[in-house]
């Protein structure tokens, strides 16, 4: 669906197609330096800028604000869905007025979702980038972050992952238990880390596990690297094309799910084998309702 048809927001200018071949972070930094306002969209994500500050980041692999609110136990998914459908004011304000979510929690959820999406989207090669100037989100400003501050935080997260266990392939390849992991796990591991081990079935990638568990992508990748460093999980070996007995090559999944450039990168939750969690289905409907409101 095209952004223009989805959104009643008025833009005075036609979308500009910016040069590709750089990371989305580079493109955003350039626009931010000019204190621009609008939506930057690439194949890896979308960034909303207001006067050069980041208001919101979206990436198909990251958790969004509604999912975080539901997962934090602050508001049931059905209630959030009803509120999103019925409220006539911006959803953040409606949430605050409903008394179900405090401002601190809303701001923390917003910043968690924003930095998680930035972590996934900004370092990726951007591909073609569209910039829709002067588009302001109707949901209002919860909190903004400076672009240099955000990029430094993303770089520190990437460095932290590599410091724990320098194997970026772990982030994108299917995750499975090692022989030691199959033998069991000690109590020194956190609940989140044990959940990651439980979900590592040799088919799901860490990003898919993050969505399955309703956890931020970065927190999940952090656990995956720690478990890998301890020898409990691993990615299957890459196919050996030189050997006669090599396994048939399998396509390696992209670093983030590919998004059509014309669509907001907020695709439906897709998981191998489906999910028994009724919340997931509700969250998909919630996302659809929210998009319809935009």
């Amino acid at each position: 669906m095209d952004l223009q048809t989805r959104s009643p927001l008025v833009s005075r200018r036609r979308p500009q197609l910016l040069a590709s071949g750089r990371t989305l972070g580079d493109v955003v930094a350039e626009l931010a330096a000019g204190r621009r306002t609008g939506i930057v969209q690439s194949t890896t994500g979308a960034v909303h800028l207001v006067d050069g500050a980041v208001l919101q980041v979206e990436s198909a692999g990251a958790l969004d604000l509604p999912t975080l609110l539901v997962r934090s136990g602050r508001i049931p998914a059905q209630e959030l869905l009803d509120l999103a459908r019925s409220c006539e004011q911006p959803l953040p304000k409606a949430l605050l007025d409903s008394g179900r979510v405090g401002r601190g929690v809303l701001e923390l959820c917003h910043l968690t979702a924003l930095s998680d999406a930035a972590f996934l989207a900004l370092p990726q090669d951007s591909g073609p980038v569209r910039f829709q100037e002067d588009v302001r989100p109707q949901d209002g400003v919860i909190r903004t972050v400076d672009v240099p501050t955000l990029r430094a935080a993303v770089a520190r997260r990437r460095a932290l992952l590599d410091r724990i266990w320098p194997c970026p392939r772990l982030d994108v390849a299917p995750l499975r238990l090692s022989a030691a992991g199959t033998a069991g796990v000690g109590t020194r591991w956190s609940r989140g880390q044990r959940a990651v081990m439980h979900a590592a079935d040799g088919r799901r990638t860490p990003l898919e596990i993050a969505r399955l568990l309703g956890r931020p992508a970065f927190a999940t990748l952090l656990d995956v690297r720690r478990l890998a460093a301890a020898g409990l999980v691993e990615s299957p070996p890459e196919p050996d094309f030189g050997g006669l007995l090599a396994a048939p090559p399998r396509p390696s999944p992209p670093a983030v799910p590919t998004v059509r450039p014309t669509a907001l990168p907020a695709g439906p939750v897709r998981l191998h084998g489906g999910s028994a969690d009724p919340d997931i289905a509700l969250l998909i409907r919630l996302r659809a309702a929210l998009e319809a409101r935009l």
Binding site: R103, E107, T112, A153
Partner: protein, 127 residues
């Protein structure tokens, strides 16, 4: 209904408070700040405090035995002239956030400051 900025303003009313920030320990991202940062730089202070917070969070020796991974509550560092007080924020989801308060040792009461900061961290995530 307390937002991040209100919490930081309140933290600055703790006797001896020099500066306070809310920091994400997974990235060192300063989510908000008030007062003065160490050497006038909140972001550099946040990055340093992050190293400290991470060392505590990631090492099970600092969790209670049989606590099923419950996090530490505070980290306290004292120097001849300062108290540095870190308070982890439990939002019910993985924020990885903590409040970092720096205090002037001549005018601060560490026990009271710790209790006040605990209350602020709890109000931040209150409905």
């Amino acid at each position: 209904m307390t937002g991040i900025d209100e919490c930081l303003v309140e933290a600055m009313t703790i006797p001896g408070a020099l500066g306070v920030s809310l920091v994400d320990w997974t990235s060192g991202l300063t989510l908000g700040a008030a007062g003065e940062g160490p050497s006038g730089d909140h972001d550099a202070g946040a990055a340093d405090a992050t190293e400290l917070a991470r060392a505590v969070v990631q090492n099970p020796s600092f969790a209670d035995p049989d606590s099923a991974g419950t996090l530490a509550e505070d980290v306290i560092v004292t120097s001849p002239g300062r108290y540095h007080l870190l308070r982890f924020v439990d939002a019910g989801f993985e924020t990885g956030a903590f409040l970092y308060l720096r205090l002037d040792r001549d005018t601060a009461n560490l026990a009271m400051a710790r209790l006040r900061l605990r209350g602020i961290a709890e109000r931040l995530v209150l409905v």
